[in-house]
């Protein structure tokens, strides 16, 4: 699906570490491919404390899908009186995308966050563990869950190459931040339709750190 995704440009990237995950995106919003009309268009959206979504593709669909997801997750959480689980969320997103199989939303989402797993420890207490969870989708809802990194957007091929080379598993938050930032910055240098600023969010079970990266403004 060639040039419709290049209309606005943009890319998203997610990586996992030891007890932490990170999601990053560029901040460019293009128009008709080569005109840049905003350098402040984030593609990362918080769904709840443990689910973050990165949406790259046609900007109108990015905004619409975000609103649809916000609607669905709020309704679910109110009706069921429970925080939505990340696997449930990915199933829901997949169904939403497939429901428009023949007139698709031109977005390629990624979902980054933690899966909450309940175990009982030696004393019989229920213990929560947060397992890093990454999934990438195509525009019609095919899920692919991985445990290392997920990429999507016009810069995905460059990002794949860089992540394959630079990714180190089980890094801590600081190492993960460095790795994801370097992958993103190097990829943005090689694509004219992404760039103009970048931001990175590093998530741990109890906090989120958001940083803006200084990039080449071209």
């Amino acid at each position: 699906m060639g040039s419709i995704f290049e209309y606005n440009g943009g890319c998203v990237l997610g990586m996992s570490g030891e007890g932490c995950v990170a999601i990053a995106c560029d901040l460019r919003l293009g128009s008709n491919r080569f005109t840049t009309i905003s350098t402040n268009f984030t593609k990362i959206f918080k769904m709840n404390d443990h689910i973050y979504v990165g949406l790259s593709g046609l900007a109108t669909d990015v905004q619409t899908i975000y609103e649809i997801l916000r609607f669905r997750i709020n309704l679910y959480e109110i009706k069921n009186n429970i925080k939505m689980d990340i696997e449930c969320f990915t199933s829901m997103l997949s169904t939403i995308l497939y429901s428009n199989r023949f007139s698709p939303y031109f977005v390629n989402p990624i979902v980054v966050g933690f899966k909450i797993v309940y175990n009982t420890d030696e004393h019989g207490n229920r213990v929560k563990t947060y397992v890093p969870f990454l999934t990438a989708f195509d525009l019609i809802g095919a899920k692919s869950e991985t445990n290392n990194f997920v990429v999507n957007g016009v810069t995905s091929e460059q990002l794949f190459g860089l992540c394959e080379s630079f990714y180190i598993s089980n890094q801590d938050e600081n190492g993960l931040f460095e790795t994801i930032s370097q992958c993103l910055l190097s990829a943005l240098d090689r694509d004219c339709l992404s760039g103009w600023g970048a931001e990175v969010l590093v998530l741990t079970p109890d906090k989120v750190i958001k940083k803006k990266l200084k990039t080449r403004m071209d």
Partner: protein, 235 residues
């Protein structure tokens, strides 16, 4: 739902504020075979009398207790035809939820959906209310649940309840014997004793049905031989 000339609701208020059709539907329920449900400490059960109208009917073809999903079961007191409609609707709703969210529907949510359908039929054109009360029991992440839906569309969360014929007597019988930390095995015994109270004739493993969900296992409908074991224990 409406077809032809009846675009007005056939269920209308009386001057005293009652809906006569719903009262009559409740009468229909109170003259039907009894069913009961008990929520135990580690499980929840449903039990019902299964009297066939005639000796010649193939007993294995009639099931009053049915699965909605692996983890949720349902029984009724009232009209079997209406039950099949609600059962089909309930199964579909549960599957639609699983399809969208990838996990099992919460019992309360399913009950709300079915109750909404039952209520629709009290406020639509050309239709009559459902002539049955439902008992729905199941397990989900919040634990074990027992709900009743009556013909008006109200739903109630019960610890233990009876519906159908002689339900008042059966309910008092149950109240005396119920405690919050009753075990599932005891609950099954209590259920059988309650059914025996109002049973005319000899109760055997072919004319009662019992469904059990306990220890987080799926909802299971007991086979006649399993029921026979419980009946023998109570001799």
């Amino acid at each position: 739902m409406t077809d032809g000339h009846y675009s007005f609701s056939l269920t209308t208020f009386s001057p005293t504020g009652k809906l006569a059709q719903i009262e009559y539907a409740l009468n229909r329920v109170s003259s039907s075979s009894p069913a009961l449900g008990i929520r135990a400490k580690n499980g929840v059960i449903l039990a019902t009398e299964k009297k066939t109208p005639n000796e010649l009917i193939e007993k294995n073809s009639i099931y009053k207790i049915q699965h909605i999903t692996d983890h949720i079961g349902m029984v009724y007191a009232g009209m079997p035809g209406d039950f099949r409609v609600l059962l089909k609707k309930a199964r579909k709703e549960a599957m639609i939820y699983s399809l969208q969210y990838g996990n099992e529907i919460l019992v309360k949510e399913l009950v709300k959906e079915i109750a909404a359908v039952v209520q629709e039929f009290t406020q639509s054109g050309g239709v009559r209310p459902f002539g049955l009360s439902l008992l729905i029991c199941g397990t989900d992440i919040y634990g074990y649940h027992l709900y009743q839906i009556d013909p008006s569309g109200c739903y109630f969360n019960w610890l233990a309840t009876c519906i159908g014929k002689d339900y008042q007597n059966n309910l008092s019988f149950l109240e005396k014997r119920y405690s919050k930390d009753i075990e599932t095995e005891d609950a099954i015994h209590t259920a059988i004793l309650t059914l025996k109270e109002s049973y005319e004739g000899v109760m055997n493993e072919h004319n009662i049905e019992i469904g059990v969900a306990y220890n987080n296992k799926p909802f299971k409908i007991l086979t006649p031989s399993e029921i026979k074991d419980y009946l023998i224990e109570l001799e």
